[in-house]
Symmetry: C2
Subunit: 260 residues, 2 copies
């Protein structure tokens, strides 16, 4: 059975923090054909507002330690400030957006991360995506805009990495749709030579991925991202695209497409 | 033609600021029969967080002057902190809540208030309630939870009084539903004798309203509230109830019911 297509687009801080970049992105997003979902972070803004409120931000391996005060800031910044401004901007572009955390429509259930070496605090590991509930919104022609907050179903909001929210949403929706992820970031994709911005690897599959790993071309920050991508592909996601927002236009093929 | 019933319940700062009161209220709200919408304010919390951020709050006639910085705080506090915590708590009570501003689902369009004697800043006067859009959510068995933020359709969020959001929502939904408003506040209703908390006027209609006005029993803060109520009733709302949250239980009839 042919499934309908669904695009899940993720933007990070570099776009959110720059009004022009955000407006440019939202225009491209609004023109993207078919059903779609937007996921955004907001960590830089949260750090800035936490600092104004006299709350220190502690990061371990790029993940925020989320105590009760920090969770309040994250709920304000991700769920309120960033999310609702994006929704209002999308409405101005005639996109019928609806802003969500994982608590809204009970869409993303998480478990609070167990304490091992590090106590991450109110951080959630995604347990279940309510694809039927999210699909009720898509079927009603709403465009869901998710921030990186989930909940435990018992009244507790939980901070959850935006890349993880994106891949888990895509995996969950793959039961109903043929899903593609678009990870928008500064670069045009995975680079063969980190010093050369034009050395984009245009297509990575499992075989090439192993070769690039062996050659040491994929390392550092890109490694967990790509691990995460192949995990999503193995769990039903059709295609993952990584690159600059220009990849959302059909004319541009200068980005990295990842398939199994 | 008989219309289906819809209850629109509004809570203010006295409930939001008190965890026990909020939990008590949410339990009663979750047990309320039929389709329902929740509207909340959050002004006290916004004032506290604005103050922590070094932003002064200016009020004129009980309305907040909303400059750009204040609008950011309101978007964080109403749209994020308060709204998303209520949504998470309702999900724990098995109520499939979805938190909204008027920008979400393009549900409430406003005009920025024109500057006359006072420049209220980013404050919106409601122009249009998208009742069909909101009804898509109700028909999908979601419970909308609105905060007191609307938008102008051009990308601008606007601060809007929560009582006004409530009455305008009720008026707008009256085309589809038989609507009842529940304004929850500290008192058990409109009091005949302000010094006697047990002197609740149990039913006010247009005729009694005029009498109470003539006798000077309705004055001060209650006057604009009741003006607003009769405006809503004249525009299609069936019943307005004012009182303590205990009015949401069927056993209790100690509150003020207002009809034309």
């Amino acid at each position: 059975m042919l499934k309908e297509k669904l695009s899940i687009v993720k933007i990070g801080g570099n776009i959110i923090e720059d009004d022009t970049a955000l407006d440019d992105f939202l225009k491209l997003f609004s023109n993207l054909d078919g059903k779609k979902i937007l996921v955004h972070g907001g960590g830089k803004r949260a750090t800035a507002i936490a600092s104004k409120l006299g709350i220190e931000s502690h990061m371990v391996n790029g993940r925020r330690i989320t105590d009760a005060e920090t969770l309040e800031v994250i709920t304000m910044v991700y769920g309120g400030l960033v999310n609702k401004n994006i929704v209002a901007k999308l409405q101005a572009l005639h996109i019928d957006a609806i802003g969500l955390t994982g608590a809204d429509a009970n869409s993303i259930l998480s478990d609070k991360r167990p304490v091992k070496d590090i106590d991450f605090g109110f951080v959630g590991d995604v347990k279940e995506v309510a694809n039927k509930s999210i699909n009720k919104l898509l079927d009603a022609n709403f465009i869901p805009v998710f921030c990186a907050i989930t909940h435990d179903g018992k009244g507790q909001l939980l901070n959850t990495n935006a890349d993880t929210v994106t891949s888990q949403l895509a995996i969950g929706m793959s039961e109903i749709y043929e899903t593609s992820i678009y990870y928008c970031f500064e670069l045009h994709g995975v680079l063969k030579d980190i010093k050369n911005k034009n050395s984009v690897v245009k297509h990575i599959n499992s075989k090439l991925y192993k070769e690039l790993l062996d050659e040491g071309i994929i390392a550092d920050g890109m490694l967990p991202k790509l691990e995460n991508c192949f995990d999503a592909l193995k769990n039903g996601v059709k295609t993952i695209n990584m690159g600059n927002i220009s990849m959302l236009t059909q004319e541009n093929d200068n980005f990295t497409r990842i398939t199994l």
